[in-house]
């Protein structure tokens, strides 16, 4: 069997991943039609390309279906409990930068820090009869961050997309989401809490600690890593 390398199957993340490998002498490419998720690896032997949704790569690494995978730190830490024991970080790749942040309406001039947020959550709950709602898809990371910061009286509401719009629609009072430039936030009249950085993320090459490695696969891994490390 060959060493399996999981890579995002579409978009800029896929293109940038291909570029990153090309620069290191490994050519990745999609084969067949545009719609077919098959790929080829040139420049190193014994490696198979597996095209996957970036969101599924953490799970595939954790069950050992793939040996190597490219995905964001945010997805690894959100989806895998005790992620350090399941995957090893091989190389931060220098693109796909995104920060998981807490943001509140700009006009909340009384809220700049997580400390303010806690006081506001208490007052909000007392007045409106429910907890302050935080819209996010990163439930575990945000909950751990808020628990650690000692914030009480909040609740998470699930938002899988267009999270910045939830405040205006009054389905949440604030959000926790990924941002790279902050432009979408500003356009939706939101601001980032000064100490509300939950996680800094970038595209990263991971190795599964769970997958089985045959002698051939070990050899292919060593060759590949030597090339990637120059």
């Amino acid at each position: 069997m060959s060493l399996k390398l999981g890579v995002p199957s579409k978009g800029r993340l896929m293109e940038k991943t291909f570029d990153w490998f090309t620069k290191r002498g490994v050519t990745l490419s999609r084969t067949g039609s545009d719609r077919e998720y098959a790929g080829a690896v040139e420049g190193v032997g014994g490696v198979d390309l597996v095209l996957l949704s970036a969101g599924e790569i953490p799970r595939e690494l954790a069950v050992g279906n793939i040996h190597l995978g490219v995905t964001g730190t945010d997805l690894i830490q959100e989806k895998l409990a005790r992620w350090e024991q399941q995957v090893e970080e091989l190389a931060p790749m220098g693109f796909g930068y995104a920060d998981l942040i807490l943001a509140v309406p700009q006009f909340w001039i009384d809220v700049e820090t997580v400390d303010d947020l806690d006081a506001v959550a208490a007052a909000f709950r007392a007045k409106y009869g429910h907890r302050l709602r935080v819209a996010t898809k990163y439930h575990r990371l945000v909950r751990e961050f808020l628990t650690d910061s000692g914030v009480a009286d909040y609740q998470l509401v699930d938002s899988q997309g267009a999270t910045e719009g939830t405040v205006k629609n009054e389905t949440a009072e604030m959000i926790a989401d990924i941002t790279s430039t902050g432009e979408t936030l500003r356009a939706n009249h939101l601001k980032i809490l000064s100490d509300g950085l939950v996680l800094k993320s970038q595209a990263t090459l991971w190795r599964s600690r769970v997958a089985k490695y045959s002698a051939d696969e070990k050899a292919a891994l060593k060759t590949l890593l030597d090339m990637l490390r120059g």
């Binding site: 309406p105 006009f107 506001v120 208490a122 907890r131 609740q155 009054e170 949440a172 009072e173």
Partner: protein, 362 residues
Amino acid sequence: MANRSEIVARARRFRTNFEAAGAVLVEPPLLQPAEALLDLYGEDIRARAYVTSDALRGEQMLRPDFTVPVVQMHMQQGAEPARYTYAGEVFRRQEQDPDRANEYMQVGYEVFDRAKPAVSDAEVFALMTLQLRNLPVRAICGDIGILKAAVQGLNTTEVRKEALLRHIWRPRRFKFLLDRFAGRVALPESRAKILSTEGRLTGTAPEIGKRRSADIDARVDILRADAAAPLIADHEVAALEALLAVRETVPFAIEQMRDIAVDLPAILPSLDLMDDRVNAMRARGIDVDTLEFEASYGRTSMEYYDGFVFGLYAIGRPDLPAIALGGRYDALTRQLGQGSEIPAVGGVLRPDLILTLEEETA
């Protein structure tokens, strides 16, 4: 390791003991509506309990403890006074430590009685220690009621007291707030900006979301009033910190806390209550002179306990969770009682851990 049928058999024996002590057997369902638990514990419960759902009943949780359903049941239909026992599995989600069980048996004993809280405290503690009498365990007790009285008695604004009371169960956050109210840490720049201006500040950015500009104006007023209020006096902060650090056998702990009460006289009534409890424990044959007391015990893991708290731990096995634990939860009955309330105290045992300890000591 004891097998499941041994654990179940032992749980039954404990339950029979508790029935003999006057408790009525109750059997709450495994699935609990998530709403009440979420309302009580907040998001943190999602990290501790398994959540499931169907289209008809919405979110349900595999019961993370018996106390909440037992209180709900009592508040709806219970006659007073009442004693209940139960035995069954509880479920705790584990994301950090694979050695901790995510499903285990608990046997409990809960007392709802208005007459003499100190006597009920002693009854529950004595009954739990009696079940573990031949095992190498040590008991620790505390009293959240003393801490609450100390905060309520501080010579400062109600807003600050409420903020501190709200975080008694989050020690780090509590310390942060206390430091701020005592003037030990500087205010953030953003706060200074709000305080250096006057009048209404809202109105530049568009008003979006359910929290309205009136709410923001109200908080700005609170922040300005807070900045104008005097800091909490050094001697009070020092006394509160000394109180939180008390860690002694019961007689010495009481002595230390009586000294601290010179600066925090508001704790005197709860110290008198502790005296009553200690006397009631002595009357039940508990060796109070060697019993450990930690003023901060119960601050990190038992949010609904608000008075007497206790735990029994295996000596030489710090890796094991408490073999038995319990405490008083008057405020919980108020929260779940929809207008009514009743003093309540209870405790639970872990038959699986008890069997493990027995095997080790045999």
